[in-house]
């Protein structure tokens, strides 16, 4: 009898990621629709607030992250919708693919999607909210990357839970949002200090918070995911 996984963890995670991209590429719908969704969210914010250029510029980081948040709800849900048809997730686990490989593959797939999306949103935010990107572009990229991972790590766990529950679409935000509040605070503030003046040099502490958040949820998710992905 063969022993242990035939394909190592990271290779399997990479295969999961490739598979998701393959499906993505065949349907192509998710990426385009996400971009579009995030763009119209940015626009909706400014419509809802009225023509108040000053307030818009001040709150730009908040709008940017909220748009990413709502987009992430859609993206995370979609990520397990493709697995819930024909019980494909179970098929994957029985394949056998280690659940942890699925976790890693999906987290990094989603994070890269969100990161790419945030890069696309930046120029739009410049146009709409009249912000300046050139102050600390490196830190800004880092904030966006850490934020994307921070949304995805707990998001994938909750998305897997709610993919099995009834009323999947609505369960996800129910579970996810409260957990993400600290992340939102940290990302919004870090982004604010990347875009505007940072007199008291607060950026590093927010970055630290973001990193800690990511590491905690990556490891907790890594440990928990097998429990939520399969029956016990």
């Amino acid at each position: 009898m063969s022993v242990g996984p035939r394909v190592p963890l990271l290779k399997a995670a990479w295969l999961v990621l490739l598979k998701d991209w393959q499906i993505e590429w065949r349907t192509r719908a998710r990426l385009t629709a996400l971009i579009f969704f995030a763009l119209s969210t940015l626009l909706l914010f400014s419509f809802a607030m009225g023509p108040d250029t000053d307030a818009l510029r001040r709150h730009a980081p908040g709008y940017l992250w909220l748009a990413l948040f709502f987009a992430s709800v859609l993206s995370l849900g979609e990520s397990f919708r493709i697995e819930s048809e024909n019980q494909a997730l179970l098929g994957l686990i029985l394949n056998p693919v280690e659940p942890r490989a699925i976790f890693l593959g999906k987290v990094f797939g989603n994070a890269s999607l969100l990161f790419g999306l945030s890069l696309l949103l930046l120029p739009v935010a410049v146009a709409l909210y009249d912000i300046e990107l050139s102050k600390a572009p490196g830190s800004l990229l880092l904030v966006l990357l850490l934020g994307s991972i921070g949304i995805s790590a707990p998001g994938i766990v909750y998305s897997a839970i709610s993919a099995n529950a009834r009323a999947r679409d609505v369960m996800l935000p129910l579970l996810l949002f409260p957990v993400l509040v600290p992340l939102l605070l940290a990302s919004v503030n870090a982004t604010r200090f990347c875009l505007g003046p940072d007199a008291q040099n607060q950026l590093p502490s927010w970055l630290k918070l973001l990193t800690a958040f990511d590491l905690i949820y990556l490891s907790v998710g890594f440990l928990l995911f097998p429990k939520v992905a399969e029956e016990d």
Binding site: T27, R28, A29, T32, A33, F36, L39, S40, L43, S46, F47, G50, P51, T53, V126, A127, L128, D130
Partner: protein
């Protein structure tokens, strides 16, 4: 340029368009004539726009972009009107022709609209100092474009051609209905906030050149739609023929 020139050009162009639509046999060459005519008019537009017309009162030479900027947005709206007409026609009587026309007019319309808004945006940077402002015209045009970008994205994600045709016809109608509503509500919204919009009164020579531009871009609009329509029809060809009466020989059956 004499002030009747744009009108005369319009009569010629519309005549050719009607000819193309009415007489099938002319379809092979009318579009070529229109392309040539349009190119000539464009050259004339460059001359009249850049050298003949006086600089705009407030914006000097940068203001000359108006000769392309505004006609583009007009053409965009015209294309969307064609689109909704085709959608309505499709719902009354299913036809691959109207579906192809709906697709091509929406795509060409988005092209003209996006270019027009982009030019406006480029224009705004030197004159207003920003890329974007909360002007009702900008907002309503952008939202209109978003409606149709969504429409096109939706079309490209739907595989079954018949379902796509029916669904996108419905989406086109709902989308077009929103245009006048957006237009008026946005204007209202802003006028109640007492903001200034960018338009002013125009000098007569400027207006003449500006209409000239509109007519020359009309020819391009028509040619683009016709060509795009032909591509859409070519993609449908497989869809139009019935399968042969007898099964093709030598086919493997499981």
């Amino acid at each position: 340029m004499p002030s009747w020139a744009p009108l005369a050009a319009l009569v010629v162009v519309v005549g050719l368009i009607v000819l193309h639509l009415a007489v099938r046999s002319t379809r092979t060459w009318v579009w070529k004539v229109l392309t040539g005519l349009g190119s000539l008019m464009l050259v004339a537009l460059v001359y009249f726009g850049l050298f003949w017309a006086p600089p705009e009162a407030f914006m000097s030479d940068v203001g000359r972009i108006i000769y392309v900027h505004v006609p583009f947005v007009w053409m965009c709206m015209l294309a969307f009107t064609v689109n909704v007409g085709a959608a309505l026609a499709y719902l009354f009587k299913k036809s691959w022709r109207t579906d192809a026309l709906a697709e091509s007019s929406a795509e060409v319309g988005v092209f003209f609209g996006a270019t027009g808004v982009l030019m406006g945006s480029i224009w705004a940077r030197p004159t207003w100092g920003v890329w974007w402002d909360w002007d009702p015209r900008l907002i309503s045009t952008t939202v209109m474009l978003l409606v149709y970008v969504g429409y096109l994205a939706f079309r490209s994600f739907t595989e079954d051609p018949e379902r796509r045709a029916a669904w996108s016809a419905a989406a086109a109608i709902l989308g077009y209905v929103s245009l006048p509503i957006t237009w008026f509500s946005v204007q209202w919204w802003n006028s109640l906030h007492q903001r200034q919009s960018g338009s002013g009164t125009m000098d007569k020579p400027i207006r003449v050149v500006y209409f000239w531009g509109a007519v020359s871009f009309l020819t391009f609009l028509f040619v683009f739609i016709v060509k795009r329509y032909e591509i859409a029809r070519a993609r449908q060809t497989g869809a139009l023929e019935l399968p042969p009466l007898e099964a093709p020989k030598g086919q493997v059956t499981t």
